[in-house]
């Protein structure tokens, strides 16, 4: 019998009946495995990426020297080590020039992860460096060169020691973005610290020990280290990495998982449809085999084997497709991804194969299994009813299987529920609407021309089958619309967050007397900058009179800590008021507006009283409002905003941010000479990095969309094919009776297009609902209705389904009717 199974498959393949079934399986396995491999590899790349922002896998930092014993222990565990020490210090050049810099001494091994960069001249071309400065050398921040009036090759002094300037320090992987105390960077060798004599007990310094190695060793070492940490020492790990890229990629991952889940649903439906048609066509074969003595068990074995063979081939092909897809994704990424993607392992392909198995068992097997019950009497009487009607049990089984697969695959029950809700709405609305509208067609049909009457009569004759078909079309169109909408709003949101002119430079420490001059100079250069915000350093001390704990433990949310305050008469442009009211510009009340995350961590709300220390003066203020803001916007953002009058007496500096093209960077030299006390922070490298990753993720999303569109198209083809047999027979008879080509094709076009129109309508309604749930609950985005998809859904629905229908039935007008009737 096995020969018969292969033969049967081969013949059905040639007959085109297996095409949709196989394609659906291959696409399902391919997208699921491909997307899963892609996200797995991306995740491991991201993990490395966050290590990069630490310059290591784990870091301990402290304001006092760290025990040597830890280094020995780490070395004993096979970890690589590096040490850094940061401190503020005056840097001297020549007779008079000096400037307060942020000095960082690094050991030869630094950095353990990520890349240190330098340039041969200030603001020059950035090159990677294998290690930091050697003994006796320093690298200076580009802006220190004009400030100290030195050039590469000249000498500068730090404390008691002198050093040769050998390069401009450009970026460090663990640079961070904290503004406070952010003086221009001086990099030196760790071994030169004693010679400077600037680090004394009680100096404001930060010691770091950096560790890197195999993930298990690092985890084990961190476990050993944690209990030994004392107050003032803290362990940083990957979670302290850069948040900006993280959230963009997190959403992209949600999107990709959503796309994969939809691929599973679409493929499931396509497989179910194709398997059903396959089994209908095989009823006669089974009858013949049974009349020749085949038992039900033998028939089951035959079709079971065929399915197994088919499944194995399609799964293999699907895994190959998946591998190709993820390779293509990374091809897109290759240039931009600063780290190599990790290995995907076999899990993605296991998930793909499991999807295939589930789809086959839950969608393809039920109709095929029922083939064994086909009556052998069909050899005598072909008009016997078909045995393989789908039962409620089949539908429930399929639904359950799809839900579980989606949940397993995305690991997110809210995402699963959002899609299921959309599907449920489609089915419910679909059945009501389709049945009502199809019934209502009778009246219209009487007054229409004959093509219309033919089409409407056809619609009504197959009322139930048509309603089911509308639902299937609607499901496919809905899933595609959901994906399209989510993709569009994701990409829009990213582009809005970081548009071309995203500020990429910050200026801080602008003295009140410099505000006007700075503003003027930026204007002269035609640089569009954000408003100048006052900035006051202060410390939160108490909530409602209760003193907050004094601790260095950064995991502690409620503690005394320093922040930047500002004042403002108005709510800053990209902030949104989440609670409370904005104050009157003239108010003299002691009020404060908090960022929502800050308020949450502190556990305070509107009306609570907070105690601050600004300089050495205490300050009390009542929480008047809570704001939400976009930390990734690269604009000056503040946790705490006060009314201007409240802070009028406190010493403030000002800050702003602006966008500077790479070609205009030399402007900074002039600017710094003009305002030597002002600090410029260059974020252009980071901004460009985030932007390019977002661009690449968008490209990956587009690619996935195309794959899913193909899966959706397949469902439409399968759906149309499912009804082609009956329509072909009628049309062939019509042709035999002398109907013209135009009448037959026109009737079919109208019939299919009407089904597509209804399907498009349902799909649009359900897609809106589904997108609402997805964006509000799953992707943490703002939902806005999308009126654009309404006409698109309707037009695409009728055009696609109408076109496909006519295409599938085109044979009816191109072949002699008799040949067709014999074939059917």
């Amino acid at each position: 019998m096995s020969m018969t199974a292969t033969r049967m498959l081969a013949r059905d393949w040639r007959g085109g009946e297996l095409g949709v079934l196989v394609m659906a399986l291959v696409l399902a396995v391919g997208t699921v495995a491909g997307i899963s491999a892609f996200t797995t590899r991306l995740q491991s790349a991201l993990e490395q990426e966050s290590h990069r922002f630490l310059a290591a896998d784990a870091v301990v930092r402290s304001s006092r020297d760290l025990p040597e014993a830890w280094l020995r222990e780490a070395r004993g565990r096979g970890l690589r080590l590096a040490r850094t020490l940061s401190f503020p210090s005056m840097v001297y050049a020549g007779e008079e020039a000096m400037y307060l810099a942020s000095v960082k001494a690094v050991s030869d091994e630094y950095p353990l992860r990520g890349e240190l960069t330098r340039s041969e001249e200030p603001f020059g071309e950035i090159r990677p460096a294998r290690a930091g400065p050697g003994p006796g050398e320093v690298w200076l921040d580009s802006r220190l060169f004009p400030l100290l009036d030195v050039a590469v090759g000249q000498r500068v002094g730090i404390g008691d020691a002198e050093f040769t300037v050998t390069a401009a320090a450009r970026t460090e992987p663990d640079q961070g973005a904290s503004f406070y105390g952010y003086g221009p960077r001086v990099l030196m060798h760790y071994g030169d610290i004693p010679a400077t004599g600037v680090v004394q007990p009680g100096s404001r310094v930060e010691y770091r020990q950096l560790y890197a190695g195999e993930p298990e060793s690092v985890t084990a070492f961190a476990g050993w280290l944690k209990p030994q940490l004392v107050n003032g020492q803290s362990l940083l790990d990957v979670n302290d990495g850069q948040p900006g890229i993280g959230s963009a990629l997190k959403r992209a991952e949600s999107f990709l998982l959503l796309a994969g889940s939809l691929a599973v649903v679409l493929a499931g439906v396509a497989i179910a449809l194709a398997a059903r048609r396959f089994s209908e066509r095989h009823n006669d074969y089974v009858a013949i085999m049974k009349s020749l003595g085949a038992t039900s068990a033998a028939v089951n074995r035959l079709y079971g084997r065929s399915l197994l063979l088919l499944g194995a081939t399609a799964t293999l092909a699907g895994c190959l497709l998946g591998w190709g897809l993820q390779a293509m994704f990374f091809q897109l990424f290759a240039e931009q991804l600063p780290v190599k993607p990790g290995p995907s392992g076999l899990r993605p392909y296991a998930i793909g194969s499991a999807t295939s198995l589930t789809c086959l068992l839950c969608f393809a097997w039920p109709p095929l299994r029922r083939l064994a019950q086909a009556s052998p009497l069909r050899v005598l009487r072909r008009d016997l009813p078909l045995e393989n009607r789908r039962t409620l049990g089949d539908y429930s089984l399929g639904l359950l299987a799809v839900s579980l697969l989606m949940w397993w695959y995305s690991g997110d029950w809210r995402l699963t529920l959002a899609v299921l809700a959309g599907l449920a709405i489609t089915v419910a609305l679909g059945l009501c609407l389709a049945l009502t509208l199809l019934r209502g067609g009778r009246l219209v049909g009487m007054s229409a021309g004959s093509i219309w009457r033919l089409a409407l009569a056809g619609l009504q004759r197959r009322g139930t089958a048509n309603a089911l078909q509308v639902v299937i079309f609607a499901m496919a169109i809905m899933l595609l619309l959901v994906l399209l909408l989510v993709r569009t709003s994701l990409i829009d949101e990213w582009q809005m967050q970081l548009p071309e002119d995203t500020p990429n430079h910050f200026i801080i420490n602008i003295g009140p007397e410099q505000v006007q001059a700075v503003d003027q100079m930026l204007r002269q250069q035609q640089i569009a900058s954000e408003p100048l915000y006052p900035m006051i350093r202060g410390r939160i001390m108490s909530v409602n009179g209760e003193e907050l704990p004094q601790t260095e433990d950064r995991t502690q949310d409620r503690r005394q800590r320093e922040s930047n305050f500002t004042w403002s008469t108005t709510l800053p442009g990209d902030n949104r008021l989440a609670a409370g009211r904005w104050w009157d510009p003239e108010t003299t009340e002691a009020l404060v507006s908090l960022e929502s995350g800050y308020a949450e961590r502190l556990g305070v709300g509107i009306g609570d009283t907070l105690g601050f220390l600004v300089g050495s003066r205490p300050l009390q203020a009542t929480v008047a409002s809570i704001r939400e803001l976009e930390w990734q916007s690269m604009r000056p953002n503040f946790f705490l905003i006060f009314p201007p009058r409240l802070l009028a007496d406190y010493p403030a500096t000002f800050m702003t941010s602006f966008h500077l093209e790479a070609s205009d960077k030399r402007f900074l030299n002039r600017f710094i000479r003009e305002f030597p006390t002002v600090t410029v922070i260059e974020m252009d490298v980071v901004v460009e990095q985030v932007r390019s990753i977002v661009r690449q993720v968008s490209a990956a999303i587009e690619l996935v969309l195309v794959v899913i569109l193909a899966a959706g198209g397949l469902v439409l083809v399968a759906g149309v094919q499912a009804s082609v047999d009956a329509r072909m027979q009628e049309s062939a008879i019509l042709r035999a009776l002398g109907a013209r080509r135009r009448l037959v094709l026109g009737g079919l076009l109208i019939e299919f297009a009407t089904l597509g129109l209804f399907a498009g309508l349902l799909a649009t309604v359900a897609a809106e609902l589904s997108v609402y749930i997805l964006q509000t609950w799953v992707m943490d985005m703002h939902y806005a209705p999308s009126p654009r998809i309404w006409p698109a859904g309707l037009v695409c629905g009728s055009l696609l389904v109408g076109g496909l229908g006519v295409f599938s039935c085109r044979k009816v007008v191109s072949s002699p009717p008799l040949a067709l009737l014999r074939e059917l």
């Binding site: 019998m1 018969t4 009858a287 009349s291 020749l292 003595g293 038992t295 039900s296 033998a298 052998p376």
Partner: protein, 209 residues
Amino acid sequence: MTGGELEILKGISLEIKSGESVAIVGASGSGKSTLLGLLAGLDQASGGRVVIGDTDLGQLDEDGRALFRGREVGFVFQSFQLLPALTALENVMLPLELQGQANAREQAAHYLERVELAERVSHYPRQLSGGEQQRVAIARAFAARPTILFADEPTGNLDTRTGSHIIDLLFELNREEGTTLVLVTHDQTLAARCERRLCIEAGELVAAA
């Protein structure tokens, strides 16, 4: 025999001897195909009994009847009922394979030679004419060495000349193999070649000749 509220066959009692050839004749819709279906175990009667040899078909379930058909019964149908996926040879091999016979290929080739189709073993049904297809069906029916052969309008889809050639072949093989032959037809010449004729009218046996 009643089928729900509609009685299709009623009060039919007949005995067919081993090796006998019997024609069941009657107009369209008289119930002759239904009778054939019941006799061959393709269908189950709502009342009454069908016994072939020692086997009461009513006592068997569908799978039991399938096994019985595979062992004892051969079929020739009006619409040939060949599997389009299989070649002529493979179609003839099918019942032998279902029975698990080892030399299916040789036996099938032998019977195809017997129906003068040795040249066309590797052709698919769609590449064969109607008469050739029916000869493949006859080879298939006899290859399994059935004790009883049922034929449903075997010439119904063929022209007169091809039809009579098919009939010659059918009777010749029947004689050689010693098979019991039951055929349903409304073709009086065909019926005349059988040893016994049963006439059925509105579900009742009206005359036996």
